[in-house]
Amino acid sequence: MAVCIAVIAKENYPLYIRSVPVQNELKFHYTVHTSLDVVEEKISAVGKAMADQRELYLGLLYPTEDYKVYPHMIRILYYTCLHVFYQIENILLYRHTRYGYVTNSKVKFVIVVDSSNTSLRDNEIRSVSQLLNLYGSLKGFQGI
């Protein structure tokens, strides 16, 4: 389902990043990193209006990105999080990073999804529970 999931700090460094399969990790890191260009741009464009929203789904990024190693397209989705995502943040941060500090703004989730997976529609990925499912699917792979 999800091939890569990343939690990005306010300052744009990765707090947590995992991808499946592992051998192509670097490419996914680049993918997530370059997607931050658009995330930044969107965040600055949406500006303050964002702070009031509970859900901060920013939409689909680079929908035509054609992936090299895999003959399928990859969709990259991202969120910025507010308290809605505390739950996931807690799971991710307390277990895997050294510092347990959690910020409630401008932390971003970037999810790279296998675009051959047509069962996953854009509006479905909006919901938090779906995000958790995605995380779960990754967890299964990784044995996290």
């Binding site: 300052e11 460094y13 680049y30 990193h33 260009d37 680079y62 054609d66 090299k68 347990g100 500090y101």
Partner: protein, 1134 residues
């Protein structure tokens, strides 16, 4: 022959098709008129002119032969989709219209002959275009301006005859008068040509369409595509782009309906690519970029799996790359023409993908074209064709026109594939990739994608590395490295560093090699332990001036060359010292330096700690640590040095002082005594240097600017600060690295003085007095304090007026004045023995009231020993006190009459009283030494005035009063305001000794109005009366004028008295004389009684009323009751 650019789209596909019109009969070389006509057609064509491409051809030009038209397709099997020459043929060879220019005027003398010559010429071109639908038109070049149509009968008749002779319709005959308005005529002409051309292309479209009914779907599939393409292309020539787009779209779907197999895959893809290009181009032209993008995506989706022959897989990726590149070019061109692109949809993505496929192509090429050296290019060359070009687009040279599934000739097939592979070997792949990447970089830069740009630059760097252009590779990688470092993407940084390390190894760049290694073994690197360990071992080798082992993934030849380079480096002497500024990296040794305190007293040693920590897998031995300070004199005191032998570097013992054990924090303490001249100055750590290696091998100085820290440390410190809030305290002896903060500067401050300065005084100060402040200085030092100096007085920096109104002196015996300063600097006190105490009196005179701040600054020198070193410290102690100044007393003055009635004016020569009140406002008792009245000349005392308050002591709030009897001498013009004089009060505090100076306070007396009166009257009467006892009263009336005065006098009757004397009288008083009037009053009642009222009137001065004069007379008297004699005395006493 295959060209290296075989994947480039043909120029006839990429150009904008325009109607082709051929002009004949023009001699543009020798005939000036013809030249002018030709120039008017083709020079400076603006965009608003009709789209025609003109060509001048000779009259006997041979046009491509038209093949005989097929009448049946029944047995016809097409050999390919589109012939390579077709587009060019219709763009440049077969005209839509042929125009014959002929010089002929209507009134030509030899009209008949000329007419037939013209007809012959028309016939010639008709013959050469046999079978084509090309129209023919004739233009007559005439010298005369034609008459309006219908007026020139000869012209219309001859025109009809010419048309007839040439077999032309009237619409195809034109007249071009060679006059002034050439361009105007030409534009009209070409518009007419354009219409003819449109008709031509329309018929061509109809012609191609008409074939359709003969085709069948089994054998003529290729023709369906071909025909649609041709119709679309003709539509484009006709400038009917909407229909053209429609036909291209049909063609596109038809091309994908073709049966595909390995042998025709390339042809199908080539054609699909062509048609796709046309569609996208038209979509951009129609300003529907989203359609273009959608078409392109569809195209890629449909084609990306059509790989074709596995042995020639690189052809597919080359083709894919070209598809993306040409779409990128189209997109970019559209942007230049005004289209707006956005961050997520810009040409950059297409160039990036093009580059990606170029990379794939390169990989496949290396893989598929890795032939043994013995394999040579096949002969005969299967790629040669008889004509030198292919007949159909996208076919193989060795089996042109072959359309069956299996290749006809296996040997030829193998040879052809081998030839293609050999050719692919020579393609400069890296160059292509880099060009595409740099195109993409330019686009992403434009559309605000800095990270994408960095990523592509990394790829460029990697490509340069593959191309063995390591210098360029490093330049690019170095450029982006710091972006990844500041964004803290360690995984990506590590990967870039690894590439950079390989490049620097292959170039044997020692300094770069060390720089990259030290970051790769450090904490920012995500390499596995064993890789770090390998790199660290190599680094140690480099430090020992040995050749490091090759980096993995280096090809053998390059590694060998690199080894040789490294060996050369070894033999080079003198260039073995490197300084690396590590501040902007994340090196494997971390450093933090701190002064233990933000300030140190000059008599305390300055303490400085340098914390070092290694993050590499193995312990590191260093040979020198030195701290540079802003005052370089201390530098020699902050060095740890222990030259190490090569052996030590190799096997660092963790016990040693100079060894850093991974993960453990080492602290190096430095202590030095600050120079006394640095007191008040800041000492800063300017750099910390750590020397690795040894003098006899290579030595590397890791240099931290300031107090250490690197590219990652500030963020780590921030995180540590956050997390410590939630975490508990760590054990004391264990140094938690993250909690160490850098303190790169400290202040040197003066020694704490051991001296007491005490002030005693009695505030507030009284205005103008010599206020005494006692300063007691006592030394608590253990040795002699030398050169003690006191600076005392008004603290500088206050209101400037205070400096003028404050005076200080040490001499308390005399008043000080303006010549005394407000501050007495450096009053020498001499040396003080331990415990010795001196007192100094300071007298302050404050001329104005208000608050003042006084400073008492005691400075001295002292010799002391710090860390076994003698130093002379200068110490000082400041005391500051705020003193309020108040007025000692208030002085009030009033004028009263002799009857103690308030006076608002006084009368010449008539006595009055001056009363003064001194009201003490001082909190301390005051002694009034004396007072003195200094009268103005306009005022005279009645007697010798003597102070009545001498030696009076006033407590707070008490008042001392005096009374003086005065009188004013005559004044000019009857009335004026005169000065009274001054009242001087001499005083001091009661507590002060007799020799203390007396303060004199001057109070200026108010001015008073003096008036001259013409008549003065005063009464002479006893102090009391007694009931029924006669009492004589004498009134004296003085004439104060120089004139005889007539005075009317009367005495009014009263209930309390009977009286005798003149009741009413009229007198005449001489100038200056006095008249006396005597009355006997006989009191009738006891107590205070009003006297009978005396009325006086002046006939000459009616203004002087009796009322005014009555002021000088007593109005009543006390009358004692008649009675016992014994009571007399007691009443008199009352």
């Amino acid at each position: 022959m295959m060209s290296p650019t075989q994947w480039d789209l043909p120029p006839e596909l990429c150009c904008r098709p325009m109607a082709f019109v051929a002009l004949t009969g023009l001699d543009v070389t020798y005939n000036a008129i013809h030249r002018a006509i030709w120039d008017a057609f083709c020079a400076n064509r603006r965009a608003d002119r009709v789209p025609i491409s003109f060509k001048v051809l000779p009259g006997d030009h041979e046009y491509p032969k038209c093949r005989t038209k097929r009448t049946s397709y029944e047995w016809y099997i097409p050999k390919g989709i589109l012939k390579t020459g077709w587009m060019n043929k219709h763009l440049n060879l077969v005209p839509a219209l042929l125009v014959l220019f002929y010089e002929l005027d209507w009134d030509d003398a030899v009209w008949k002959e000329k007419q037939s010559e013209c007809a012959t010429k028309v016939e010639i071109v008709r013959t050469s275009l046999q079978g084509r639908n090309t129209k023919v038109a004739v233009v007559l070049i005439q010298k005369k301006t034609p008459l309006p149509p219908g007026e020139d009968l000869v012209a219309s008749e001859r025109a009809a005859s010419l048309c007839n002779a040439c077999d032309l319709s009237g619409k195809s005959l034109f007249v071009l008068p060679h006059t002034d308005h050439l361009v105007g005529y030409i534009i009209r002409l070409e518009n007419a040509f354009y219409e003819h051309a449109q008709t031509y292309y329309y018929t061509e479209i109809r012609r191609v369409k008409s074939h359709k009914e003969f085709l069948n779907k089994t054998t003529h599939q290729l023709l369906f595509v071909r025909h649609q393409f041709k119709i679309a292309f003709f539509s484009e020539l006709k400038q009917d782009t909407q229909n053209s787009l429609k036909y291209y779209r049909t063609a596109y779907s038809l091309v994908h309906e073709l049966r595909t197999h390995e042998t025709n895959m390339l042809e199908i893809k080539t054609m699909a690519g062509f048609i796709n290009y046309k569609i996208c181009r038209l979509c951009f032209q129609h300003n529907t970029p989203l359609d273009a993008i959608a078409q392109f995506r569809k195209h890629i989706d449909l084609c990306k799996k059509k790989i074709g022959s596995a042995e020639l897989a690189f052809e597919h990726t080359a083709w894919m790359s070209k598809q993306f590149q040409s779409f990128g070019d189209l997109f970019d061109e559209a942007i230049k023409l005004g289209l707006t692109a956005i961050q997520t949809q810009n040409p950059g993505f297409y160039y990036q993908q093009a580059a990606y496929y170029a990379q794939e192509r390169k990989q496949q090429a290396t893989h598929l074209c890795a032939h043994e050296a013995s394999v040579s290019y096949p002969t005969p060359d299967h790629l040669e064709t008889p004509s030198g070009a292919l007949d159909f687009y996208g076919q193989r040279a060795w089996r042109q026109g072959h359309q069956s599934i299996d290749p006809p000739h296996m040997e030829k097939e193998k040879g052809g594939i081998l030839a293609l592979q050999m050719k692919e070997k020579d393609v400069p792949h890296s160059e292509l990739i880099i060009a595409l990447l740099s195109n993409a970089v330019a686009q992403f830069k434009k559309y605000k994608c800095p990270r994408m740009k960095s990523h592509l630059m990394v790829q460029m760097g990697e490509e340069y590395n593959h191309a063995k252009d390591y210098t360029k590779a490093l330049k690019l990688l170095d450029y982006v490295m710091c972006d990844y470092r500041t964004e803290r993407w360690w995984s990506l940084l590590t990967s870039i560093l690894s590439t950079a390390l390989r490049c620097s190894y292959l170039m044997a760049h020692v300094k770069d090699y060390i720089t990259y290694s030290m970051e790769l073994v450090g904490r920012a690197s995500t390499l596995r332990e064993e890789q770090k360990s390998r790199i660290e071992k190599n680094l140690i080798k480099v430090l020992m001036n040995e050749v490091p082992e090759a980096e993995p993934d280096c090809d053998q030849a390059s590694a060998k060359a690199a080894q040789a380079l490294w060996s050369d480096r070894m033999s080079l002497a003198g260039s073995n010292e490197f300084t690396i500024e590590v501040q902007d990296y994340v090196p494997f040794v971390q450093c933090k330096a701190k002064f233990l305190s933000p300030s140190f007293h000059v008599d305390d040693p300055v303490q400085l700690h340098v914390y070092l920590r290694a993050d590499c897998p193995h312990p590191v031995r260093f040979s020198k640590l030195c701290v540079s300070l802003s005052n370089q004199e201390y530098n020699q005191l902050c060095v740890v040095e222990e030259p190490c032998k090569s052996q030590d570097i190799l096997e660092a013992s963790s016990q040693e002082n100079m060894c850093l054990v991974p993960g453990k924090t080492r602290i190096y303490s430095f202590k030095f005594v600050a120079k006394t001249e640095d007191v008040g100055k800041k000492i800063e750590i300017t750099a910390v240097d750590l020397m690795l290696g040894s003098d006899n091998g290579r030595c590397v100085f890791l240099n931290w600017r300031g107090g250490g820290g690197d590219a990652a440390s500030s963020h780590e410190a921030l995180l540590a600060a956050r997390s410590f809030k939630s975490r508990g305290r760590v054990p004391e002896q264990h140094v938690e690295w993250d909690t160490v903060s850098i303190q790169a500067s400290t202040m040197i401050i003066s020694r704490i003085p051991k001296i007491s300065v005490q002030l005693s005084h009695e505030p507030p100060a009284l205005n103008n007095e010599m206020y005494r402040i006692t300063v007691s200085i006592q030394s608590n030092e253990e040795t002699v304090t030398k050169d003690v100096k006191l600076t005392a007085g008004l603290k500088p920096g206050q209101d400037a007026n205070l400096t003028q109104s404050t005076h200080v002196t040490l001499n308390g015996l005399e008043m000080c004045d303006e010549s005394h300063p407000a501050l007495l600097p450096d009053i020498a006190i001499g040396d003080l023995q331990p415990g010795e105490k001196v007192e100094k009196y300071l007298y302050v005179r404050c001329v104005t009231t208000g608050a003042r701040i006084f400073l008492f600054h005691v400075a001295y020198a002292l010799s002391t020993k710090v860390e076994g070193k003698d130093i002379t410290c200068k110490c000082h102690k400041d005391e500051i006190v705020t003193i309020e100044t108040v007025v000692p007393f208030e002085v009030a003055v009033k004028f009263v009459s002799t009857k103690f009635e308030h006076l608002d004016r006084v009368y010449v020569d008539i006595p009055f009283l001056l009363m003064t009140d001194i009201l003490s406002a001082s909190p301390w008792p005051l002694r009034l030494v004396t007072s003195q009245l200094q009268l103005a000349p306009t005022m005279a005392a009645m007697d010798q005035p003597q102070s009545q308050v001498e030696q009076v002591v006033l407590q707070t709030g008490e008042c001392a009063s005096e009374c003086f009897s005065l009188q004013c001498p005559p004044v000019l013009n009857g009335m004026s305001s005169v000065a009274s004089g001054q009242y001087l009060i001499s005083w001091k505090r009661k507590s002060w000794s007799a020799d203390a100076p007396v303060v004199t306070t001057v109070a200026t007396l108010p001015h008073v109005m003096v008036e001259t009166i013409p008549l003065y009257v005063h009464a002479e009467l006893p102090s009391f009366g007694r009931v029924r006892e006669s009492m004589p009263v004498r009134y004296h009336i003085q004439n104060r004028t120089g004139l005889v005065q007539d005075v009317e006098m009367s005495v009014e009757p009263s209930d309390a008295f009977m009286f005798s004397g003149l009741k009413q009288v009229r007198l005449r008083i001489l100038p200056g004389a006095e008249q006396e009037m005597l009355y006997n009053f006989y009191p009738l009642m006891a107590g205070y009684q009003n006297l009978p009222q005396l009325n006086i009137g002046l006939l000459r001065f009616p203004a002087v009323s009796g009322q005014l004069l009555r002021r000088f007379l007593p109005s009543r008297i006390f009358v004692k009751p008649q009675g016992r004699q014994a009571d007399d005395a007691s009443i008199a006493a009352a």
